[in-house]
C-alpha cells in the first residue's frame, strides 16, 4: 500500500484546472487531465420503479438519455465527454439490471465514436447498499458480495472507470451529526471510515486490474455532503459541516493509497486535497449541479477541477429538450470558458475569479479553496495514521477558520463561533484511537458492528 508523506502540489498556485500530473486515459480515446476540462454528465431516471419487470422501459429511458447527451456533445463539438452511470440500489442488488444498462450505454457511445469520432468514457458508480440491514454488515453480508460482483460484471460490460460513494462509518456519522457529537464524528470519520476504505478499495483496485479498467475514486458524499445538506437547511452549524469536510479528506485519500488513480467523484468536494496530495485528476460539481442541490460552492469548486459535472439530473422534459441533454450543453459551455482561458493564457485569472467569488461568502466554500486544501493536505501527510490525520485535519480546519474570522475575512455569528470553540476543544481531547474507541463505541453500540470494521 502506498503511503503519502509529501505533496505533489506544494502550493495552491501550482494546481490548475484541466491539468493534473497523472492524466487518465480511458474509453474511446478519452484523456482526462491533460490540458482541458471536460464535462462529466450524470443522469437518472424519472419517477418510476426499477426492477427486471420493467427492464425494457428502463433501457428505453437510458437509450433516449445517452443518445440525447451524445448528439448534443457532437453538435457542440466537445473535446471529450465522460458519462457517469450511477447505480440506484436495485441496479447493484440485481446484477443484470446494472449490467444491461452499462452494456447499452457503451454500445451507443461506440456508435458515436465510430460515426463522429466523439471521444468519450463511461464511469460506473456502484451503489453501496450495505446499510440495507441495520446495523450494516460491512464485510460479511450478502450486500458486499453483490457490490463486488457488480464491480466486476459492470467492468466486463463496458465500464471504463469504477467508482463508489462508500458509506463506511455513516451509521455513526449520521447520528453524531444530529447530536453534534464531536467524539462521535471523530470516531466515524477517523476510525470507522478509513478502515472501511482500506478494505473496500483494496478489492476494487484488484477487480479493476483483473478486468483492465480504471479504479477511479470515492466520495465522502454520505458523510460530508450529508453534513453540508444539513447545514444548508440550518439543522447543524455551517462550521461543523466545514470541519467535517476537511476531516473526511483522510478517508477519501485512502482510495488512492490503495491504488485508485482518479478521477475522484464529482460530489467529493474534498477533491482539491486529493489532487494536492496525489497529483491525480478530480471531478467537481458546482453551479451547474443546481439541478440536484443548493450549493455555496458554485464557482470555487471549479478552481482546480479536471472534470466538471452536474451531479445528477432526472430525465424530464424541459422547454428545450430533456434535462440530461440540456445539462450537457450547460457543462459544455462551462468547460469552453475554462478551456479558452487555458488556451488564451488567462487561466490563473479565471481560477482567481472562481475562488474569490465564493471563498469568503460561506465557510463551506472557504474550506475547499485551493489554499485551504493545500494546508489540509500538508497536515495529512505529516501525520502517521488515519486516526491522527483525521484529528489533525479537524484541528487545522478549526485553526484556519478561526484565523480567517480574526482577520475579518470570514464572518461567523455567535452561535457558529461557539460551535467552532466546542469542535476545537473536543477534538483536542482525543489523541489516541484506542481511548476514543473504548469511550465512544459503546454509545453507538446498537448502530454499528465493530467486528465488521476489523476492530
Amino acid at each position: 500500500m502506498k503511503k503519502y508523506t509529501s505533496l505533489v502540489y506544494k502550493t495552491a498556485r501550482e494546481m490548475e484546472f484541466g491539468k493534473a500530473l497523472y492524466p487518465v486515459n480511458c474509453g474511446f480515446s478519452l484523456t482526462i487531465g491533460n490540458g482541458k476540462v471536460l464535462p462529466e454528465i450524470n443522469y437518472t431516471l424519472p419517477p418510476m420503479p426499477v426492477s427486471m419487470d420493467n427492464i425494457e422501459e428502463i433501457l428505453k429511458q437510458y437509450d433516449s438519455i445517452i443518445n440525447g447527451i451524445l448528439k448534443r456533445a457532437v453538435v457542440l463539438d466537445v473535446p471529450g465527454i465522460l458519462l457517469e452511470f450511477e447505480h440506484l440500489p436495485p441496479m447493484t442488488d440485481v446484477l443484470e439490471i446494472g449490467v444491461k444498462i452499462t452494456k447499452r450505454t457503451k454500445e451507443i457511445m461506440k456508435n458515436f465514436h465510430e460515426k463522429y469520432d466523439l471521444k468519450s468514457g463511461l464511469r460506473v458508480t456502484i451503489c453501496d447498499t450495505r446499510d440495507e440491514k441495520r446495523p450494516p454488515k460491512m464485510r460479511s453480508g450478502e450486500a458486499i458480495k453483490r457490490i463486488f460482483d457488480s464491480f466486476r460484471e459492470n467492468a466486463l460490460a463496458g465500464a471504463d472507470l469504477l467508482s463508489i460513494e462508500s458509506i463506511g462509518g455513516k451509521e455513526v456519522n449520521d447520528r453524531a451529526l444530529m447530536e453534534g457529537s464531536i467524539p462521535g464524528l471523530l470516531f466515524s470519520l477517523g476510525v470507522l471510515a478509513p478502515r472501511d476504505m482500506h478494505f473496500l478499495w483494496k478489492e476494487i483496485t484488484r477487480i479493476a486490474k483483473e478486468t483492465d479498467v480504471v479504479p477511479a475514486g470515492d466520495s465522502a458524499c454520505g458523510l460530508a455532503n450529508t453534513a453540508m445538506m444539513l447545514a444548508d437547511r440550518n439543522y447543524i452549524p455551517e462550521v461543523l459541516a466545514a470541519v467535517v469536510r476537511a476531516m473526511s479528506s483522510v478517508r477519501s485519500l485512502v482510495a488512492f493509497e490503495e491504488g485508485a488513480v482518479g478521477p475522484s467523484k464529482d460530489c467529493a468536494y474534498e477533491g482539491p486535497v486529493m489532487k494536492a496530495v496525489t497529483g491525480y485528476t478530480i471531478s467537481m460539481e458546482g453551479k451547474s449541479a443546481a439541478c440536484a442541490h443548493l450549493s455555496h460552492l458554485g464557482n470555487i469548486a471549479a478552481a482546480v477541477c479536471d472534470l466538471w459535472s452536474n451531479e445528477s439530473v432526472q430525465n424530464v422534459k424541459l422547454l428545450a429538450d430533456f434535462a440530461p441533454t440540456v445539462f450537457t450543453e450547460i457543462l459544455a459551455y462551462d468547460c469552453r470558458i475554462m478551456n479558452q482561458s487555458i488556451e488564451g493564457g488567462t487561466k490563473d485569472l479565471l481560477k482567481e475569479i472562481f475562488v474569490k467569488s465564493d471563498e469568503l461568502k460561506n465557510v463551506q466554500a472557504f474550506v475547499i479553496s485551493p489554499e485551504f486544501s493545500v494546508e489540509i493536505a500538508k497536515t495529512i501527510v505529516q501525520e502517521e495514521d488515519d486516526f491522527l490525520r483525521t484529528r489533525a485535519t479537524g484541528l487545522k480546519a478549526c485553526d484556519l477558520i478561526r484565523k480567517a474570522v480574526d482577520r475579518g475575512d470570514i464572518i461567523l455569528n455567535k452561535r457558529e463561533l461557539s460551535w467552532l470553540r466546542k469542535i476545537e476543544s473536543e477534538l483536542a481531547k482525543y489523541d489516541s484511537e484506542e481511548a476514543l474507541t473504548s469511550e465512544v463505541a459503546p454509545l453507538y453500540g446498537e448502530l454499528t458492528l465493530l467486528e465488521e470494521y476489523g476492530i
Partner: protein, 211 residues
C-alpha cells in the same frame, strides 16, 4: 404552578437530570400526569420547536431537549396508560421499500414526539405490508412515509393502494415527505398531506387529526 414552569424550563434547557427529578417531585406533590405532560413537557418542546424554526438553535440543541423530555416521559408513560390517557396521536413512520435514507424521517419522528405524539419508527426499506401491520397493531391514526429517490417515491402510491385494497385507508391519515416529493405528488397519489420539513410535519399531523 411553579413546578410545571420549572419542568418546562428544564425541558427547554435539555437538563435531563432535573426533568427526571422534577417529574418525580411533581407526582409526589399530586400534580396530574396529564398536567405534567400538557403544561410542562409539551409547552417546553413548543418553545424549543419555535426557536428551531426561527433559526435560533440547531438540531443538536433540540435533540438535547427532546431527550430530556423523553426521560420524563419514561416516568409518565405507565401512569398515562393506567389512567387511559391517549397521546396527541399515534404515528407509524418509515422510509419506503427500496430506500435507505432516514435522517429526514428521524427528524420528523423527533418533532412529533416532542409535540406529544406517540411515534412508532418502522425504520427504512419498509414494505407496504409492514406499514399496514404496524398501523393495525399499534392502532395508529397517522402514517408518515418518507422517500429520497425518484425511483422509490413511486412506492408511496403502492403503500396507499395497499391500505385501500385492505379497507384500511379511512382509518389512517397518510402524510408524505422527502426531497423529490411535493404537494402535487401527494395529491396525485391520494395522500392526505405533504410536509416540506420536519417542523411543519407536526402542524400537518395536528391539523389532519383536528387537534
Amino acid at each position: 404552578m411553579a413546578i410545571l414552569e420549572e419542568l418546562k424550563e428544564n425541558v427547554i434547557d435539555g437538563n435531563e437530570g432535573k426533568v427526571i427529578e422534577g417529574t418525580r417531585r411533581a407526582l409526589e406533590e399530586g400534580v396530574g400526569v396529564e398536567e405534567i405532560l400538557n403544561k410542562g413537557f409539551i409547552p417546553g418542546m413548543e418553545v424549543v420547536g419555535n426557536k428551531f424554526q426561527a433559526n435560533e438553535i440547531y438540531v443538536p440543541e433540540m435533540l438535547i431537549s427532546a431527550r430530556a423530555m423523553k426521560a420524563g416521559m419514561r416516568i409518565l408513560e405507565p401512569l398515562l396508560t393506567k389512567a387511559g390517557i391517549e397521546p396527541m396521536g399515534r404515528v407509524v413512520i418509515g422510509t419506503v421499500k427500496g430506500d435507505l435514507h432516514d435522517i429526514g424521517k428521524n427528524l420528523v419522528a423527533m418533532m412529533l414526539e416532542g409535540a406529544g405524539f406517540e411515534v412508532i419508527d418502522a425504520g427504512v426499506d419498509i414494505t407496504a405490508q409492514k406499514f399496514m401491520d404496524l398501523t393495525k397493531e399499534n392502532k395508529a391514526n397517522v402514517l408518515g412515509l418518507s422517500a429520497l429517490l425518484t425511483t422509490t417515491m413511486v412506492e408511496m402510491k403502492n403503500v396507499i393502494n395497499t391500505f385501500k385494497e385492505n379497507g384500511l385507508r379511512e382509518d389512517v391519515k397518510i402524510i408524505v415527505g422527502g426531497a423529490p416529493v411535493n404537494a402535487d405528488y401527494a395529491k396525485e397519489i391520494g395522500a392526505d398531506g405533504y410536509s416540506s420539513d420536519a417542523a411543519s410535519a407536526v402542524g400537518l399531523a395536528k391539523n389532519l387529526l383536528g387537534k
